[in-house]
Subunit: 229 residues, 2 copies
Amino acid sequence: MKLDKITSESAKATGRRYHDACGAAHGLDLVGERWALLVMRELMFGPRRFGDLKSDLCGLSANVLTQRLEGLEEAGIVRKRKLPPPASVQVYELTHWGYEAQPVFEVLGRWAARSPKHDPSLPISAVSTMMSLRTMFDAEAAGGLTARIGFVFDDRSFVATIADDELTSERIEISDCDVVFSGEPSAVPEYVYGKRPLADIEAEGRLTVTGDRALAERFQTFFGLPEKA
Amino acid sequence: MKLDKITSESAKATGRRYHDACGAAHGLDLVGERWALLVMRELMFGPRRFGDLKSDLCGLSANVLTQRLEGLEEAGIVRKRKLPPPASVQVYELTHWGYEAQPVFEVLGRWAARSPKHDPSLPISAVSTMMSLRTMFDAEAAGGLTARIGFVFDDRSFVATIADDELTSERIEISDCDVVFSGEPSAVPEYVYGKRPLADIEAEGRLTVTGDRALAERFQTFFGLPEKA
DNA sequence: CGGCATCCGGGAAGATACTG
DNA sequence: CAGTATCTTCCCGGATGCCG
């Protein structure tokens, strides 16, 4: 109905915003709606397709995802792009400014991980797993190490690079890695933060290690969970 | 109705959460509801009363404020406290962990301030104004200065201390300040970020300067607005 | 007045089914 | 696979009223 459309458009224009000049308040106007930040999170390692986003964000329904992508696109945070042939597939990607929201995830995640109610046993996506490594890396514990560590989850692979007291990571094919972890995403935080013996998790068939085994064993010492508040 | 109560309680218990181990997702479970972060913002400079929160957060209704305070208290972020006699007034304050959410505001604010849609002419609270000074302070521009700058807004006063290339601020009585700005909160960002001449804003009667006038004139050069994305 | 419970209207979120 | 249409449920926001 035309009337309905007008109503909803004006609602979007004047809609539920905080009329506040505060930067944080404006940030909430942009990404404060439910699921918006998590959609951005799933895009932080590069473009994704609609269906991939939907399947990685468990509980998010298609219509809401459509709305969020529209809103983020209008805000200049997300761009819709058609991959060149022969792929010819439509993907969503963050704009340059969108990628710069990365520190928001690090700061928010570091703070919230101290919550007494944080439950690390919940399901976790591949992107979240890789992002948490960025967030929780402890340069001192790694002590000047240089290494390339690969991760293979289902059909996606990531490489984390430790160099110059920093951990960077990207979603690329595995190449020149000192060690590669393959398996399900949740096994990585369980190993790294849960401080469980690597062999135990391998025995459960949830993680496979190839390459420098000694490095794999040391890997879990590079990350520190903050104490609970 | 008893049934309604049970329903709403179980809805709060199992309620709209992201079932996700990701730290950022859990952060959103804690403070992702509408107004929650802004309530925390208003508490970042110390305890406040229910009515003060309500009047500073324009558009927030009493019932929602009650719900947020309950939720934040249950999450261990906010504490309800009764001031000792003769005040005997109930106030809400952040827990130690709650205060540690400060970087969330800085990072989110810095990122969102680059939005093309950010409108600095909207109303701004005293707390937001003081917090933005923390966020946007440029140590290089201040060049090793040491100073105490006071702010008086209506019935509340703050002191910002610039020392050791850092700006800190607290809500306390004015004392030993090199210069004091008095007036309405919105005049400060207008002067500092809008880069308007101080005399113009004084002429409008929205800001009064007492003390070291030269310092007041330099003050606006200590803060840089990031370029738009 | 401060704090909180209650009722109501509108709109956003969530689930499902359907279409190109 | 990539959304759209529809329906239900629930949250948000405003108003009112109770109680200390």
